[in-house]
Symmetry: C2
Subunit: 482 residues, 2 copies
Amino acid sequence: MKADEDKEVKVKITKRITDFSRWYLDVIAAADLADYAPVKGCMVIKPYGFSIWENIKKVLDKMFKATGHKNAYFPMFIPESFLKREAEHVEGFSPELAVVTHAGGKKLEENLVVRPTSETIIYSSFAKWIQSWRDLPLLINQWCNVVRWEMRPRLFLRTTEFLWQEGHTAHATHEEAQAEVKSMLEIYRDFVENYLAIPVVVGKKSGSAKFAGALETSTIEGLMQDKKALQCGTSHDLGQNFAKVFGVKFLDKAGSEQYVWQTSWGMSTRLIGALIMVHGDDKGIIMPPRIAPTCLAIIPIWKNDEEKAKTIEAANSLAQTIFDFPFVIDDRDLRPAWRYYEWERKGVPLRVEVGPRDVENNQVVLVRRDTGEKITISQDDFATRITEILEAIQHNLYDRAKQFCKENTHDVENWDDFKKIIDQQGGFIRAEWCGLAECEAEIKEATKATIRCIPFEDQGKRGICAHCGKPAQHRVYFAQSY
Amino acid sequence: MKADEDKEVKVKITKRITDFSRWYLDVIAAADLADYAPVKGCMVIKPYGFSIWENIKKVLDKMFKATGHKNAYFPMFIPESFLKREAEHVEGFSPELAVVTHAGGKKLEENLVVRPTSETIIYSSFAKWIQSWRDLPLLINQWCNVVRWEMRPRLFLRTTEFLWQEGHTAHATHEEAQAEVKSMLEIYRDFVENYLAIPVVVGKKSGSAKFAGALETSTIEGLMQDKKALQCGTSHDLGQNFAKVFGVKFLDKAGSEQYVWQTSWGMSTRLIGALIMVHGDDKGIIMPPRIAPTCLAIIPIWKNDEEKAKTIEAANSLAQTIFDFPFVIDDRDLRPAWRYYEWERKGVPLRVEVGPRDVENNQVVLVRRDTGEKITISQDDFATRITEILEAIQHNLYDRAKQFCKENTHDVENWDDFKKIIDQQGGFIRAEWCGLAECEAEIKEATKATIRCIPFEDQGKRGICAHCGKPAQHRVYFAQSY
């Protein structure tokens, strides 16, 4: 008897090719990751979705601490006047603010803004914490929720409230601050490529896309399966802009007063959206082993009570040889296929099938989530083989995403090709650009494509701008994006 | 030359006996734990203070997960109408709410409340998640920030915004829910007594002090060195109050529709305030080893470069034998005494002094933060001895707090003694109580003491109420409190 057969509900997932947006929402529901909340634009992150975020946090937090950063916590409420001190900053964030006007039963004397980002409130503390060059560099990180009012919400990608980390540092020189900007971007690239298995292009944002209040913004950009780009993390050179308005000063070694040089950098729950859109397929999401909440779903298969006892026992002894990977033994009274589907939807990288004949033959069947490949192995080799295969899955996910990115990156030399390729193929367009904001705006107007980044590495000789024909300043990445 | 001598600033700490409140703020500043923020009632948790919270989170999170609870994340904004659905709940929290009235540049159609606690927003999700008895029990926890507008803020103890965890569970029967309430209170007691080394009394709250919307609230209460009580954690039996207003229903095994039985439970950054007030002394805070961000401060001592090289080398080799405890090697160019003071203020449980003569004699000097005792040991015994001594410190901190609590718990049989003892001695008063809210209110009015808890364990025979003389219902703990 299958006691839980009423739980065997067929979950319908739209095909990616039919409607990518619908597919995205379907796999989020099918994998039980998140749901829209009754508050407009907000999401509920369900336990399985949240466990992915916990893994992201754990790895990143370790990387930040290993590079000398310390966590702290600053208030969520920012006095409106603080936000207004840096002109570009308030202009950039004003349209997205949620404002507390009443509290404790009274109208407030000064409105409080719910942090959209914390530069202003944190740097008012930095001004108190920093006195001398000995207090520098100051390397702080904060894990928290932020709010940016969202007109077109999309789970994980754009929600009114989201979770993130924001790093905030202060340095004695611009060179040191610039080195920090680069080194944090490199940590982001390392994490996104080597843990999330998402290849990225790295570079600077153009002036029109930089963070409001920064001198310069660096970014890592991934390419989703619908050939749109997604900004995965940014690292900002804030110069002395905030230091000057918040009076963050230090006495240098010579005893003279200087403003500090600052950086900030952040990544968010949006990364979960990237994981879904880069690796997912028509069966559900696919989790790279290094970040997967569950790496192995061990599924005993039986037809009668004797077989049930025997296969569950075998599953348990296999499990005892697993040290490095989170696993689940799914011995629920559901037909095997239904149990397979559930872990498939949730993207568990490796399924382990243990049937009665496998027990007899001292073997198990492994099924790779990324390729569907079935591999029969001896139980004696279990620990070694799963380690190898999970590593192979990690690399395969990266390699095929990299291949996809390569195939969908087009070098374009003139405006006709630019329009045609954006229109018919999408993906990254690498083209020469004159460096002028007006030209960039015209390109966006005509194609919805924006400059995703100006690569740090020189992309070859300068010719003429693919759009306006003026002398080119950079060879840059364009794409439509989220 | 002592290059950093200008950092050797004498930190002044008011004595506890002179002014406990002032002492509390002084040690928070001296240990660099937190600071008031520019937003009224809010605090900035500085890196060292936050690292204590990180340790608290790590241990508790493991305990919650080991008992089957899963983390999730729900929106911080709650529609005002949600809060109003449970009458007692909204009445209890209304005076403390912060309200978002404008967002995205417009007045909102419905005001949003910043969560003071999340029962209402979470249970609107539970109503969607739960269909059948198979979905129960549902065991969810959330780590987040909450806001309760605070008129008399006090760092860690009462701040407008604070960090906490809130557990929310749903069960098929009242018995199961009641068992959950007890088992989470027991986890809290275990954690607070065995990690924070704070002895507590456990029991029920009286009707006037229970959580707004609960059937019953259980609590753990500690006694601070100023002989005031502090509520350290609470666990609520919510009955079906919220289930009924949010429609959280399930089909039972017989196929009939039932409302779930719910619990919620929470602990917060207030625990850091408890740590300070229970263990701290006139030199600073004292951290119990099991929760200390740094267990050992290893301090090389030298008079010349040769000695410096030798003692730092010895410190480094000692450090390599430490596996279980976080440590710091403080080899800054500051006089030893100034380095001692800093780690003393920060409550590091064990100081390790390594001077040139110690190196010669293959010994080190350990100094206990809790007793000041100096212990000279052979370097060969280092790993073993520090393990023993840190364990001894953990127990000593608990034992002396327990002794303090015992000495300051007074059994009182009549109203004259009650008033005299509260007035002259403070501490816990254990007395008979009639069970009437009016009587409890009169006692509070006259003495500022409230019922901290009605112990689960029977405290002996019933006589008459110590205040009004009517027949007693319970023997309860009274105290003035935070």
